[in-house]
């Protein structure tokens, strides 16, 4: 599909990239990204994806905007206090980026309401975990596996940030979120208990958005190749899938590790 003149100008800096081009811009515009959680991570990740021309984004959050959110949830202002996060973010993003259609689901994700989100009418290109608690992260991982969606999970608290992406169909050897963090783990770090600086969350959200755009391009390129060759192949040239990145925002160090499937995992090996 040819880009309009206006779109060509608006997205010219990313179209200039050899890995994007007009083809990549079309991939963005035809993508639908599901974002669970519209706090510090979801605010900025959603904004970057909408600004890049991702055609459809669904935001899910039942939380309301509080004054303590404002230092890191930059789409929100004092006038928004008390309103639903997904609703306000959707309204503001659609006003700023009319190429992107933003749906808002104004409730928390639960096992009971998941079928409303993951139904036959919705095909998600990516699922972004921008939630703020461990049990929701486990549920998101389970749903990503059930519905065969690539999961891009980011988190931040205090001066620690973590980022990973997994896909059971393309890289079963690298396992899932539960292989890394079994659900019986003790969790001590949340923003409410240990605090966080706005740019710390913003760094992880930016990396999550950057990883997501890269994955949209590479996963689509791989799907095209599979259509041509007519066979399902394991993706061994996806350098981002199956990697864990950890950022220390006080020491400014990044560490990378390859994820590994747990043969006893109750979620992906069951």
């Amino acid at each position: 599909m040819a880009l309009t003149d206006q779109a060509f100008i608006q997205y010219s800096r990313q179209i200039l990239l050899a890995d994007v081009g007009e083809h990549g811009q079309n991939i963005f515009s035809q993508s639908h990204v599901l974002i669970i959680g519209v706090g510090g991570l979801g605010n900025l990740a959603a904004q970057y994806l909408a600004a890049a021309g991702v055609g459809q984004i669904t935001l899910v959050d039942g939380d309301t905007i509080e004054r303590s959110n404002l230092p890191r949830q930059l789409l929100f202002s004092v006038e928004d206090l008390g309103s639903n996060k997904a609703q306000v973010a959707a309204e503001k993003l659609m006003q700023a980026y009319p190429d992107s259609h933003i749906n808002s689901l104004q409730h928390y994700l639960t096992l009971d309401n998941a079928p409303e989100i993951f139904n036959a009418r919705q095909q998600f290109s990516l699922l972004l975990d921008c939630s703020d608690n461990f049990s929701t992260r486990q549920l998101i991982n389970q749903l990503a596996i059930e519905h065969q969606v690539t999961l891009v999970s980011a988190s931040a608290a205090n001066f620690q940030g973590q980022l990973l992406s997994v896909n059971q169909q393309l890289r079963p050897d690298t396992g899932c979120y539960h292989c890394l963090y079994p659900s019986d783990m003790g969790v001590s770090q949340s923003c409410q208990t240990v605090g966080v600086l706005g740019p710390m969350v913003g760094t992880l959200a930016s990396m999550q958005a950057l990883m997501s755009l890269n994955l949209l391009l590479s996963l689509n390129a791989k799907a095209d190749q599979r259509q041509v060759s007519g066979r399902q192949t394991q993706v061994d040239d996806q350098p981002l899938l199956g990697q864990l990145y950890r950022f220390d925002g006080a020491k400014f160090t990044w560490r990378q590790a390859k994820l590994t499937r747990d043969p006893d995992c109750l979620v992906c090996s069951a």
């Binding site: 975990d129 703020d132 988190s155 620690q160 079994p182 949340s190 390859k258 590994t260």
Partner: protein, 67 residues
């Protein structure tokens, strides 16, 4: 005895020490951390089966769930 690095600090352990035993000797709660051995995540179910080797680099860290 062999030398390993645990979160960038040199630690000496006996030959045949498992990853589980390393954590226990450091009084690290096993259900509170994840573990990377030489840039590869080791799932918790494998810790007791893997013995430390000389110059192993172990990284032990907590889950971060905020956002």
């Amino acid at each position: 005895m062999i030398n390993i690095l645990l979160n960038d600090e040199a630690v000496t352990v006996a030959v045949g020490t498992s990853l589980t035993q390393v954590l226990e000797r450091q009084t690290i709660a096993l259900n509170g951390v994840a573990l990377v051995l030489n840039a590869e995540v080791v799932p918790r179910s494998r810790w007791s089966h893997i013995m430390c080797q000389h110059d192993d680099k172990l990284e032990v860290f907590s889950v971060v769930a905020g956002g």
